[in-house]
Symmetry: C2
Subunit: 189 residues, 2 copies
Amino acid sequence: MGYCCLMAVDREHVLRSAADLLTRRSTATMDEVAKAAGISRATLHRHFAGRDALVRALESLGIEECEAAVDAARLDDGPAGEAVRRLVREIQPAAGLLAFLYGESQLWEGEPQNDGWARLDARIGAVFQRGHQSGEFRVELTPAWLTEALYGLIASGAWAVQDGRVAARDFPTMVAELLLGGATRREES
Amino acid sequence: MGYCCLMAVDREHVLRSAADLLTRRSTATMDEVAKAAGISRATLHRHFAGRDALVRALESLGIEECEAAVDAARLDDGPAGEAVRRLVREIQPAAGLLAFLYGESQLWEGEPQNDGWARLDARIGAVFQRGHQSGEFRVELTPAWLTEALYGLIASGAWAVQDGRVAARDFPTMVAELLLGGATRREES
DNA sequence: CCAGTGTGAGACATTGACGTCTCACATGGG
DNA sequence: CCCATGTGAGACGTCAATGTCTCACACTGG
């Protein structure tokens, strides 16, 4: 009955367009989500029991994409700074979804957050810690804060791109260079 | 009838507690906002015609506090980096409100935004531009992006403080030093 | 004392989104 | 050909938040 493949493709497509829409308008209606996916609200409900289920599925998708980006970035290889640059580049396609989830996570107060985020926080925090230990990064900025700031800058960057204030091709530079080097100009070394 | 003074004080108090609450839970009910202010929902409606009016009043309050912080920071004086540090320090008390409004502004799509934001963007963007012209700041990072990133980092910092991931006393350092200097350690000059 | 004013409490209708259900239709496989 | 499965359209009922209204009460100044 083609359950695993056809359904999965459809579900994937629905998730993608829902992510696209909710990234722009995080309060979009189930109706709008359905229209955006080109299906009816009834069919949307057949895939996802309700809005909560949809958001939780998007959360899982976001975690998967982040993990994939972290894998692809090989955070343990080479200088920590280069690892962060690779991470930002790999994570750009998921930036919109991340921005949506970052805003949404401010609302889930009390509910136990998905373990996936804790795992990701640990993996990303580790690269900043490595930078500290190697003397590459400043010790005044804690790994927890740098991780938080990375999420925040990714969200800000995604919104700036969406509103046309930043070109999409400049996203990796803007985010990574600000996070790593800051605004102040380097002295020639 | 004491309209201008007594009403203003009450209105101010209501706005403050609404800002406190909505900073933590941006979807709080009018009922909850009223409880938080220690008044009834009816009285809340007597001060603010509806939720929209409340949010718009909070927006005006946020703009006022930002303008005050920008004034107090004397952005035109001294090195641009020091000006940004002063700005972050002055703006910290309003950081929670700013974070709420920053998230909310993602929803006002289409509606003409308050001129106040444009004025603030211009004033803050100017200090980054000044840093560019003086050679103090890197030209790869545009003033528009640095302004956006400043808002984003302030919001991230406010949330991190609220969740206890960063100490309130470290807020100015974390935000300003990341924005200006980035994570990479400076060579001794 | 008393009139005026602001307030709290609560009832009420409205609105918008949600979740469930039914039914007709189409498409594809046996 | 015919049946089955998935879909679209739409009609409900539900529920939470909102906005409006009324009424009783407390306080305050004349």
